[in-house]
């Protein structure tokens, strides 16, 4: 059984300018100890997916349908109290911006002791300090940093602290929402290495949300490509990257720079669609080089192709 299974999840935002469909029927499975990458442009719904799993969507968002099964329980039907138990202990999340995801007036150790207290761990101060120090050291942050404030640390260190906080209660699933976007390339590589280590030492499953195909290639077992609130391709990372089936995945890969690559970078023409009125048929058709009349009128279903799922009429 998969650890996490998202079935046909539909989420919409009600804004002043109308209703926006953020997720239109997304399904996803994540096995025990697996790392799944979620890739897509801005506005493709990948962050909404992460928030919807933890039920932390903003007030103006509505979950219109679908299920989020975590260890067989549908998270969307749980009481708020039960959900609070799950957050942090079973599913943890790390954010994009390490500069604002730690409370500026709390020392690092206070972040940890609060987390322990919140989940009734009942540690004494010394025990909490020891446990927090241990996990910080595993994340490559010296133990002494426990007594420092976030502003005394660098962005990379703060992100390490944030990951340590995420892992402090040994959750089954870690949702990493663009955690390297605010960091420079060198620190980004270190954090990715850290996550690789984490999956081996902690056996944590990771849902790795990013727009960077390169990171997914390094880290994820499987990859989900999202476009305009829908999944367009899902499969083993190696397969998807070596032989992409969906034109969008192809275009995405062609726009990633490669060292020693001779080909010119191919930008994807056009913009992501206006989600107040998504295009009929295949949502990618206005930007797709292969689009035909069928694509404009008929929505391609997500169908199995070998051991991969792809939503294209011509794949």
């Amino acid at each position: 059984m998969s650890l996490l299974e998202v079935r046909d999840l539909k989420v919409s935002y009600t804004t002043r300018r109308g209703r926006i469909e953020a997720l239109s029927g997304v399904s996803l499975a994540l096995g025990e100890g697996e790392v799944v990458g979620v890739v897509g442009e801005s506005g493709s719904g990948k962050s909404t997916l992460g928030q919807a799993i933890l039920r932390l969507l903003p007030r103006y968002a509505h979950i219109e349908g679908g299920e989020v099964l975590f260890q067989g329980r549908n998270l969307l039907e749980l009481e708020e109290d039960e959900m609070r138990e799950i957050r942090g202990r079973e599913i943890a999340m790390v954010f994009q911006d390490p500069y604002s995801s730690l409370n500026p007036v709390m020392r690092i150790i206070d972040h940890f002791s609060e987390l322990y207290e919140e989940h009734g761990a009942g540690y004494t101060r010394e025990e909490a300090a020891k446990l927090a120090g241990d996990i910080l050291e595993k994340m490559g942050v010296p133990r002494e940093k426990l007594l420092e404030y976030p502003h005394q640390m660098s962005g990379g260190q703060r992100q390490r602290v944030a990951i340590a906080l995420g892992l402090a209660l040994n959750p089954r699933l870690l949702i990493a929402d663009e955690i390297t976007t605010a960091l420079d390339a060198l620190v980004e590589a270190q954090i990715v290495d850290l996550l690789k280590e984490v999956r081996h030492t902690f056996k944590t499953s990771i849902l790795f949300i990013t727009h960077n195909m390169g990171l997914v290639a390094q880290l994820a077992d499987k990859v989900t490509v999202m476009y305009a609130g829908k999944i367009v391709e899902f499969g083993n990372t190696r397969d998807v990257i070596s032989s992409p089936l969906h034109p969008y995945t192809k275009a995405l890969l062609a726009s990633v720079p490669r060292i020693g690559g001779s080909k010119e970078l191919q930008p994807i023409p056009g913009d992501p669609p206006d989600m107040r009125s998504p295009p009929p048929g295949c949502r990618f058709h206005p930007r797709c080089p292969l689009a035909t009349e069928k694509c404009r009128s008929e929505e391609p279903p997500l169908k199995l192709k070998g051991d991969r799922l792809v939503a294209c009429h011509y794949a």
Binding site: L56, I86, R87, N103, E114, E118, G166
Partner: protein, 293 residues
């Protein structure tokens, strides 16, 4: 000790000295002034001796063997102006402290609740607070003092209500911007409930702005208290009080008995100035955002 360099250090030093003097005099005043504070008599060898009224400063009164000096003179009823000045400091400071604490705590709590929960409650509280804020503090305090009556607690409450909106508005504004910060969401993701988020994540982040408002409220409360007792809404006579004495002194001022009113007035000015300078200096020195680079 090195000389203060910046404006902040100067105001801290001056404010600290002035406040220090006022506080020391308020606490130890009764041991310094031996004069009659509330009655027209001084007791010499447990015999009451009437003090002549309207004595100018530095007058000496000889009673038998003993000589008493009235450094700041006596008022229209023969009471020691210095003694009343020192005794009055206690009341003023107590009222200012109490009302600052009450308004700070109540305003902060309401601001936290209002900002965090939002919705109808937030609307209602904001409208109430804004309408309170639109009235001058002294007017609210007068109205409430008239309603509640005199006395330390009543006066403090009346003044406190006038300052609650300042704290409410500031804290609510802070909360509104803080509650969407990623670290708050991070706490929520790690399973924190609303109470823990407001108290442990948001509240400590509002302390810097609260701290910069406290001395201002304190100084303002001194003026408001003086204003109330000037109008006779403060404390029951004959308990010494600066505002009350200032008002009485005003009636005798043009007749040439200037010392009755001038000294309480000066005391008000000095203590308000002291607390404002202290607050400004602390703010300048403790708040990194105001450091000059």
């Amino acid at each position: 000790m090195r000389r203060p360099k910046t404006f902040g250090e100067w105001s801290l030093l001056t404010g600290g000295v002035l406040t220090g003097i006022v506080v020391v005099l308020a606490v130890f005043g009764q041991y310094l002034a031996q004069g009659n504070v509330t009655s027209s008599y001084i007791y010499v060898d447990s015999r009451p001796v009437e003090v002549p009224p309207l004595l100018p400063p530095l007058s000496q009164v000889k009673v038998g063997e003993e000589t008493r000096v009235f450094y700041l003179g006596t008022d229209q009823l023969g009471r020691d102006v210095l003694g009343r000045l020192l005794a009055g400091a206690r009341f003023v400071l107590a009222v200012a402290l109490l009302s600052t604490l009450i308004s700070g705590i109540v305003g902060t709590l309401l601001g936290l609740i209002s900002g965090y929960t939002g919705g109808l409650l937030d609307r209602a509280l904001s409208v109430t607070m804004d309408s309170l804020y639109s009235l001058p503090g002294l007017i609210i305090a007068i109205a409430l003092a008239a309603l509640l009556g005199t006395g330390l607690w009543n006066i403090s409450m009346a003044i406190a209500v006038a300052y609650i909106p300042s704290y409410f508005r500031m804290v609510r504004g802070n909360v509104l911007s803080l509650k969407n910060m990623p670290f708050v969401e991070a706490a929520r993701i790690s399973g924190a409930g609303p109470l823990s988020i407001t108290v442990r994540q948001i509240l400590p982040n509002t302390f810097p702005s609260i701290a910069s408002l406290l001395p201002i409220t304190f100084a303002d409360a001194i003026i408001t208290e003086a204003g109330l007792s000037f109008l006779g809404l403060g404390i029951e006579p004959p308990t010494p009080d600066w505002g009350f004495d200032l008002n009485k002194g005003r009636q005798f001022f043009l007749a040439g008995y200037w010392w009755i009113g001038v000294f309480p007035g000066l005391a008000i000015v000095v203590s308000v100035l002291g607390f404002l300078l202290l607050g400004e200096g602390l703010n300048e020195i403790l708040n990194p955002k105001r450091w000059e680079i």
